[in-house]
């Protein structure tokens, strides 16, 4: 699952992962190209279905990739990451419904709120290890879910936020227009991924890997493990909330399921599908997951069985995510060619 285990199984490969040249320009270029390609998609294919798919990919992709910052990079198995997705969707939706502030204001206010909540919850959670961390994050998730269900006057309870989320135009962008929403979602996705990539490749990103590999040793080279874990917990929460906001805009509402534990379960499943050892693994997983979900739901009412078998195939059969598999296969081929 982790790089650690991938490393143990493989031959001593020579991998130069830190480049001498700054990679940021390359990442920026890739991000720009990706955005242009995505933005041109509607010109080539007019299918609304495809655009919807990309918007959902953006929401889920930001969520899953941010979860990978915790699971894959830091070794923090959060079973409550979905709470920030739900929190983002609800607080954005509520702010738009109740206050009528412009969308960018609501966007940043939601991020600020998520920041505060994540600091408080994170400060409690990151003290705990492994399975206890998973449990306490799950408990917080369920606590937030129960609060959403029971605070009916504000959240609409189990019916969700109804009546639509107003989307007044700002700066010439009208998010009630499907095409505008599509381009905005793509922009948020690309920017989010670019930022997360920078975090992962920064010295801080390597601090996280050190904590995952050997937290004790990390503290003996002067790293404040607790603070680093809290920092990534909060950062990941911000990206998850962004995903939640895209979702809220897309469905023009918010539902308790966004904050239910299954959201976190799906996030982990997505990471598993795509693989956690590459940065884009969760993105690949997101696409696989959404395609899988859509097809299976269409074909059979028993989609639980099909999804379950797919999970078993990856967990017991392949023992790694798709991208892990691909990367290892390439590395092996390269080393065979060389030797």
């Amino acid at each position: 699952m982790t790089e650690l285990q991938a490393g143990q199984g493989a031959q001593p490969l020579e991998v130069a992962r830190i480049d001498a040249r700054p990679q940021r320009h390359r990442d920026l270029l890739i991000a720009l190209i990706a955005f242009v390609v995505l933005a041109l998609l509607p010109v080539l294919f007019g299918s609304k279905q495809l655009l919807d798919f990309v918007i959902r990919c953006a929401a889920y992709g930001l969520f899953a990739t941010s979860l990978n910052l915790l699971v894959g990079y830091t070794g923090l198995i959060s079973f409550g990451h979905g709470m920030f997705f739900g929190l983002g969707a609800y607080s954005f939706g509520l702010m738009m419904q109740k206050t009528g502030v412009p969308i960018p204001v609501a966007f940043f206010a939601t991020l600020a709120m998520t920041f505060v909540v994540a600091v408080v919850i994170g400060a409690i959670c990151v003290r705990l290890k492994e399975i206890y961390f998973a449990f306490v994050t799950l408990a917080f998730q369920m606590l937030i879910h129960s609060t959403i269900l029971s605070w009916q006057s504000l959240t609409g309870g189990d019916q969700g936020l109804r009546g639509g989320i107003p989307r007044p135009p700002f700066l010439g962008i009208d998010l009630s227009n499907h095409l505008h929403l599509y381009v905005a979602s793509c922009a948020l996705l690309v920017i989010g991924l670019f930022l997360m990539r920078q975090i992962a490749q920064s010295p801080f990103g390597y601090t996280l890997r050190m904590i995952r590999d050997n937290a004790t040793r990390a503290s003996f080279i002067g790293i404040d493990v607790w603070r680093a874990k809290l920092a990534i917990f909060v950062l990941a929460a911000l990206f998850a909330a962004t995903g939640g906001m895209i979702m809220a805009l897309f469905v023009s509402g918010a539902y308790p399921e966004f904050a239910y534990w299954t959201m976190s379960g799906e996030g982990i499943f997505i990471n598993m599908l795509g693989g956690v050892t590459t940065f884009l693994g969760p993105m690949v997983g997101t696409m696989l997951f959404l395609i899988l979900n859509d097809t299976v739901t269409r074909v059979t009412e028993y989609h639980g069985i099909v999804l379950g078998i797919v999970i078993l195939f990856f967990a017991i059969g392949l023992r790694k995510g798709l991208m892990d598999f691909v990367v290892e296969w390439f590395a092996q081929r390269r080393s065979e060619e060389r030797g």
């Binding site: 699952m1 492994e130 534990w261």
Partner: protein, 303 residues
Amino acid sequence: MIPVDLDALASCLTSPACLVTQTTSGLIIGMLLFLVAVGLTLIFGVLKVVNFSHGAFYMFGAYFAMTAYQLTGSFALAILSGAVGTAILGLIFERVFMSRVYGRDVLMQLLVCYAFVLIFDDVVRMIWGPEFKSMGMPAAFQVPPLFIAGGVVPPYYLLLIGVALAAAVVLGLGLARSRIGKVIRAAAHNPGMVSALGINTGLIYGGVFALGGMLAGLAGALAAPVRSLTPGMGFSVLIESFIVTVIGGMGSILGALIGALLIGLIRSFGSLGFPLFTEGLMYLFMVIVLVSRPTGLFGKEVA
């Protein structure tokens, strides 16, 4: 804001009749939870695996019992088939699937269990249908309720509490006194040592899973007359048992008992004072326990 009805709670706390009613209902919730949670905690103690699919055994126990009752009309057979059926299911599940992920990432184990949560729910939906089912109260218990200090107590509740308590005592004594119990405790402490002594750890692991499955199945069978049966019924029980084991301390049987009773009482009294936030209360309680004692009330301190 979240609706709060503290007056109802206060008036119940001062009325003996209401106290008795709420306490018994809290006790049956607690005892059912205990049976599920103790299997969970036992499996974790010995195998170091968090069986995320444990709720499914509870569900299967209930459905097995219902079918057996409908076929034979015997309540005793219904309970028995619920317990034995899930024991066999637990054994197969452990040998065929879980045994492949021991020693791997926690993440992998959780995923395999997650897969089975999905699969088992759909299997039940296929066999028994998606709608709510009811087993009905066995004839022997279709008698007027008892009145204790003015509080209503259905006789079936007493049976349920009695059976669960008996299971707790047998289990506690068995683990403490019997040879198998000692082997299980030794395996929990040091698996390598047990296999070095020539004891088949695979057998123990399978046995522990079967035992855990059986207890959850027993809980499901006992619950069948008083709960409605639906695919997915295992999940809320699972989450609550998790809370119980985490509060009580993973691996501790006494902890599971105390935790289950606390949760049962919080549920039954909380439903008066915080009708819509009862579940929230449990999570809140769990958070408080975890923050003040990360390994639970009776968990071993990690050095």
